[in-house]
């Protein structure tokens, strides 16, 4: 595969973590505009641990996921009682605060004769772990998709389990869920933490793929796009968000056929598609239909 294909596929994989993170919250009935903040937390935390403190990537990723989960949990604690647009705006405000904090964040450390580490708006250069360990782009691509596969298996298993039913119940009808004894707040906080961890994992992988990150990478556009991918792909299954990302970055970007007009085509396609399938391509009904045909 040539460099371009590897690049596009890696981007699809990285974005899928973010879209899955937005999807989790959507299934639990909450619309978040802020997953990019936890993507950023993961990127910075992972980058600092490997580039400045020599941690191995797997360990740094786990630490970053924990930090992302904690961050989203803390943001969710006071706001998850809010509903609809109130919650969306609270997450938007929180995410913009994170982005501005990244701009104010300077953590310069002396590393082999040079100052390294996040330097506010100048960004954070030199996250070279994969170069120092001779990992070729194609190997990294395989790593990204292996992790994605693990996450997907986990999500599919959860969806088939009682926990999955609880989450969908909380999302579709919180009052009903509460009336049958589900602690809606606890469930939502759990989902929020998981979504934070997932976004952070994506962030770590992005930072090491790109070797450079800056606050502008984690702006609203990323957040609302990931929400859009989750919804367009479909809320019926964890594969939905992947389809959303594939549709935009894969088909339209990859084909370069709409060179320069990509967003106009994609925007129009999304708006029209949502008219006919308000819960996305792979919504619950479609998933049931597919399951019935193949099982």
């Amino acid at each position: 595969m040539d460099d371009y294909a590897i690049g596009v596929l890696t981007n699809i994989g990285l974005f899928s973590f973010l879209a899955l993170s937005a999807y989790l919250l959507l299934v639990a009935g909450e619309m978040s505009f802020g997953q990019q903040a936890f993507f950023g937390v993961g990127a910075y935390a992972g980058g600092i641990l490997t580039a400045l403190y020599g941690w191995p990537l797997p360990l740094a990723a786990l630490a970053a996921m924990a930090l992302g989960a904690l961050a989203q949990f803390l943001v969710g604690l006071p706001t998850l009682r809010l509903r609809g647009l109130y919650f969306a705006m609270a997450t938007l405000a929180a995410a913009e605060m994170f982005r501005i904090l990244f701009e104010l964040f300077h953590w310069r450390v002396e590393r082999n004769g040079e100052l390294a580490g996040p330097d506010g708006t100048q960004g954070f250069r030199g996250i070279r772990w994969i170069f120092e360990h001779g990992i070729e782009p194609v190997h990294y691509l395989i790593l990204v998709y292996a992790l994605l596969a693990v996450i997907l298996l986990l999500l599919v298993w959860v969806e088939r389990s009682r926990l999955g039913a609880v989450l969908r119940g909380v999302g579709l009808d919180p009052e009903l869920a509460a009336s049958v004894g589900i602690d809606v707040q606890k469930a939502k906080l759990g989902v929020a933490a998981a979504a934070g961890a997932l976004a952070a994992l994506g962030g770590v992988l992005y930072a090491h793929h790109n070797t450079y990150i800056e606050p502008r990478n984690f702006d609203i556009m990323l957040g609302v796009h990931s929400l859009a991918y989750a919804l367009i792909g479909g809320l019926g299954t964890a594969f939905g968000p992947l389809l959303g990302v594939l549709l935009d970055i894969g088909v339209l970007e990859g084909t370069r056929f709409f060179h320069g007009y990509r967003m106009i085509v994609f925007g129009g396609l999304v708006a029209v598609l949502l008219v006919f399938r308000p819960r996305g391509l792979l919504d619950e009904r479609m998933v049931l239909w597919i399951r019935r045909r193949f099982s």
Binding site: G84, L101, V275
Partner: protein
């Protein structure tokens, strides 16, 4: 110190006037549709770009540019209403909002294609010296913006509380099902409210671009964020709240920029919104937002 306080407040109120106008448009649409229109700012940007494009190619007077901006805004607004809000009236709020986000992307890319340069000049509303009021200065275009905001409120109040159309709009806001049973053509009311909000946005967009004397593709995101922020601060769905929220946002930004610097300005505005939302202050969570 007191002089700075007053000067900042004056600047804050004039800047807040633009936010108030954007928030009014958002609130009107939210009031009748219970949906946030993420393409509201970008539709205004479309109007402003249409005016800039005309000015670049044919040259146009201030008034004609204003008319083109408003017309462009209303046209773009109608396109958004037909494609994102009409089909989802009974359906899901998220689908409508994501659809409006998709059109935001369309407007933004269209703007960068038609006029690729990152920044275009726009004929200033008034480029003379600011008004001197003893030790204080007040920009004329800021005053015009403030006057327009007040006029817009008065006009909206008159429309809503003194006209037959306003009665229908309020009925649709409160009880859409009962409104149709009372003989009100609800879909047609929604189209007209959307056009009214878009025209209001066109006015706001024109004043902002004319007072800054320039236009960039970031206008869509900026106006959407500020409009949403002001609407939320003032209390979702309340028109007076939108104006107060806009002015409050202007004041907060002006003072925090003075005391803490530009980066802290936005941080403080977002922090305030987050804290108020988290504390679920009464005026913010009265209206349900599906």
């Amino acid at each position: 110190m007191l002089a700075d306080l007053i000067q900042n407040s004056l600047d804050g109120v004039t800047a807040g006037a633009a936010y108030a106008l954007f928030a009014l448009g958002f609130t009107l649409i939210f009031g009748v549709l219970r949906r946030a229109n993420l393409a509201y700012g970008p539709a205004i940007m479309f109007g402003c770009y249409a005016a800039t494009w005309t000015h670049l190619n044919f040259g146009a007077g201030l008034l004609l540019l204003a008319v083109i901006t408003i017309a462009g805004g209303v046209l773009a607004g109608a396109y958004v209403e037909r494609l994102c809000f009409a089909p989802h009236r009974g359906g899901s709020a998220i689908a409508a909002m994501v659809a409006s986000f998709a059109l935001w992307m369309q407007f933004e890319e269209l703007a960068t294609i038609v006029m690729p340069r990152h920044l275009y000049a726009f004929p200033a509303l008034y480029d003379g010296p600011p008004l001197e009021l003893g030790p204080f200065t007040l920009r004329i275009d800021g005053l015009v913006m403030l006057a327009t905001a007040i006029a817009a409120c008065a006009l909206l109040w008159w429309i809503l509380y003194r006209s037959r159309f306003g009665l229908a709009v309020r009925a649709v806001i409160e009880q859409p099902a009962a409104a149709s049973l009372a003989g009100i053509n609800v879909p047609w009311v929604l189209v007209r409210v959307f056009a009214l909000a878009s025209a209001l946005g066109g006015v706001a967009g024109y004043l902002v671009v004319a007072s800054h004397g320039q236009i960039t593709p970031m206008l869509g995101m900026w106006s959407t964020l500020k409009g949403l922020l002001a609407m939320m601060l003032g209390g979702l769905g309340s028109l007076p709240g939108a104006v107060l929220g806009g002015l409050a946002l202007g004041l907060i930004e002006a003072h925090s920029q003075w005391f803490f610097g530009p980066q802290w300005r936005d941080l403080i505005a977002y922090l305030l919104l987050f804290v108020l939302l988290a504390a679920r202050v009464p005026w913010m969570t009265t209206r349900s937002a599906s």
